[in-house]
């Protein structure tokens, strides 16, 4: 029973070490930013997405992988949405046809700490590319 002090001191240190990133974030005021959602620019010309916002927020990555498999491996480009509307399964044409990558995708990804998925190693943001195109052909 005389080791009780050491045992509890060790446990306290372990818990402190485990939670130190959170304390560090609190000290730097980041956690407070996290608590308020990022300023996302929504599409001006469309009111509804290919799925309800909650589904998109939780599972857009699974949907994109499903679209990828459908298009590339099965040549199936037709997506029938929850409300019966038909969309093309295309990141560039459908998603980026409404959403602005920088103002929507990138901001939320940066907020969530999952910035720069390697989609963009190959897939192009029409707006960025249009800028580079304009620059490259003066």
């Amino acid at each position: 029973m005389r080791d009780r002090v050491w045992i509890f001191a060790g446990l306290a240190f372990f818990v402190a070490a485990l939670t130190c990133p959170a304390w560090y974030a609190v000290a730097n005021g980041k956690a407070s930013n996290k608590s308020k959602p990022p300023n996302l620019e929504l599409p001006a010309n469309q009111k509804e997405c290919v799925a309800p916002a909650g589904t998109m927020r939780a599972a857009h990555m699974q949907m994109l992988i499903q679209w990828r498999e459908d298009v590339v491996r099965h040549g199936d480009r037709r997506f029938v949405a929850f409300n019966g509307k038909v969309y093309e399964k295309s990141l560039t044409r459908t998603c980026l046809g409404c959403h602005n990558k920088e103002q929507f995708c990138d901001r939320c990804h940066a907020y969530s700490g999952v910035s720069d998925p390697y989609c963009w190693n190959c897939h192009n943001d029409p707006q960025t590319v249009a800028g580079s195109r304009t620059r490259s052909t003066p």
Binding site: V72, R73, G75, R77, T92, C122, P126, V129, S132, T137
Partner: protein
């Protein structure tokens, strides 16, 4: 009405049997009907290239420019890192067995457009360890760049030199990026996809539409009445190295 234990068991058994029969009937009839649909409308995309027309405008290269623009093909100065989907080589190099000592120079030295042959028996797809390249039902030898691990087995397997490896990031070498088509990234293999993305929209391949001489005839080789099949009936055609048994879907009218 009161049912006995015996009646209950009898009814449940018959219901299960009926449900089982229905599923069995479905599973038998469904594949059969899809097979039937496929056999009535089989597709094998193919191309016939009329070299005599191409010869009339030697050095034109409109087909190559169209493909490069459509598919974000980088123009890399280092020849060892070159990426190409459609390119040209001299006739005498492409068809060494179809040369005689007495053919005119205009024939032997003209440039022949070359692209992936979309073989009936593609050697490249057999060796791919990740199935990143495979043959579609419509005959297109397709690539899934998401899966490619850059092992380059397919580059070694292709007897036609139709595949290129991205030794470097291609984007700095693309003058003007077409946003509708992905660029590739360092470490993946790429090649002509028969403009699969255009076919899906009912268009013909970019090179076919771009040629001012109408050198390329694209169509369904499985349909005896298609344009390429008609040409192959009427005129003498050769394939690249047919003795290898790859069954190229690209034919050349000499």
């Amino acid at each position: 009405m009161k049912i006995t234990r015996k009646d209950f068991l009898r009814i449940s058994g018959l219901s299960l049997l009926a449900a089982g029969c229905k599923r069995a009937a479905e599973s038998v009839s469904q594949p059969a009907s899809s097979v039937r649909a496929a056999s009535t409308q089989p597709v094998r995309w193919g191309m016939v290239i009329d070299l005599s027309k191409c010869r009339e405008k030697d050095g034109c290269n409109a087909c190559i420019h169209a493909c490069n623009a459509a598919h974000n093909i980088p123009q890399i100065a280092n020849h060892a890192h070159e990426v190409k989907w459609i390119w040209t080589e001299p006739d005498a190099t492409v068809f060494p067995s179809a040369q005689t000592d007495f053919a005119p120079q205009t024939v032997t030295e003209t440039k022949v457009p070359l692209l992936c042959n979309h073989c009936a028996n593609p050697p490249c797809t057999r060796v791919c360890p990740t199935q990143a390249t495979w043959k579609r039902d419509d005959g297109i030898v397709m690539m899934d760049w998401h899966r490619c691990i850059g092992c380059r087995y397919c580059v070694a397997a292709c007897p036609y030199g139709s595949r290129s490896f991205n030794f470097e990031d291609p984007r700095p070498s693309i003058e003007s990026i077409n946003p509708d088509f992905p660029t590739r990234t360092k470490g993946v293999v790429e090649k002509c996809n028969f403009c699969e993305e255009r076919l899906a929209r009912g268009l013909k391949p970019a090179c076919v539409d771009a040629c001012p001489q109408r050198v390329f005839t694209f169509g369904n080789l499985a349909d005896p009445e298609s344009e390429p099949r008609q040409l192959l009936r009427e005129r003498f055609a050769v394939q690249r190295e047919p003795e290898l048994g790859t069954g190229p879907s690209v034919f050349y009218l000499v």
